[in-house]
Assembly symmetry: C2
DNA sequence: TAGCTGGCTTTTGTTTCCCTAAGTCAGCGC
DNA sequence: GCGCTGACTTAGGGAAACAAAAGCCAGCTA
């Protein structure tokens, strides 16, 4: 980490994966729409109402999420209803679930109601609470102070 | 999940932990400043330059992060230099690391350079890559399709 | 004590995000 | 074929976030 920090100024943040991810989801409304999609919401006006956002904004953000490949838009038909479009998470969108779980976990710990969180996320198979944990590929749980940051192959001089 | 969705409209998102977390960190610059803090950056102008943000914005966001308890501001002194203030992560701020790791992971997978990510996060003790994983308290790894969402104690009627 | 440097603040202007209110359009039920 | 409903789009405007440029101030160094 010390070595890393010493050469920290030799490269730019142009290739930072966090910054790039935030260009796609770095905005409140987008993440809340993904929350709703993960809850199973599919219809346009449900998204707008449940997220608490106006229709023009919901339309613009949903369109962008489809363009970015996080949501899939496809026609569906309920009996006795006309054909509609629904929005469902793609694999790319589902892969953001750890971000949402980690945010919820932090919010539960530091910004929740006194009575507790409004939503519980559990493991469907066993009923236990689900958390986002840092683990290394060798299988260890990794506390924050055991993280090391190193320059990677995509490092660019600034 | 189906039961949950059926009653989804009976409560509001006023007590959503994700929304509350996003009121603190739901903005690109704030998360990038926390990224820098997690890399070990401490000085004001290093934050501004490395995040790529103007000084007024860096000053405002850092002040807010201190007010929110994610960063601690304290005086320090390098030999031969005058006293300065530095910004270091608090426990509350460190608890956001899973969010940053999850974002980086997603960015590495879907938005990284062809040559690879610019930064590697590893376990200091064993050198293996670190990831944010969903795990339940019973110890199982939880894939996205095994998540269940249930109403919690802080649920509010809308 | 005069200058230099780090760490901000002030000013001004632009862009992005979001709102409300109203309008459009397609298709099903009647 | 007429209205209704769901799914948007258009128009107009306010607030927040950001940038560039410049100024201020404290405390070392000389």
């Amino acid at each position: 980490m010390t070595d890393f920090l010493a050469q920290r100024d030799s490269w730019s943040t142009a290739n930072c994966s966090i910054a790039r991810a935030l260009e796609v989801v770095g905005n409140r409304t987008t993440l809340l729409l993904l929350r709703e999609a993960s809850f199973g919401t599919r219809r346009f006006d449900d998204f707008a109402r449940r997220v608490g956002v106006s229709e023009p904004v919901a339309a613009a953000r949903l369109k962008q999420l489809v363009a970015d490949g996080l949501l899939d838009r496809r026609p569906y038909r309920e009996p006795g209803q006309r054909t509609r479009d629904e929005y469902v998470l793609t694999a790319k969108g589902r892969d953001l679930l750890p971000v949402l779980v980690a945010l919820r976990q932090w919010g539960d710990a530091y910004a929740a109601d006194e009575v507790g969180p409004s939503v519980l996320v559990t493991h469907h198979d066993c009923g236990a609470d689900v958390r986002a944990r840092l683990r290394c590929d060798a299988g260890h749980d990794v506390p924050a102070d055991e993280l090391a940051v190193l320059p990677g192959p995509g490092l660019r001089p600034s």
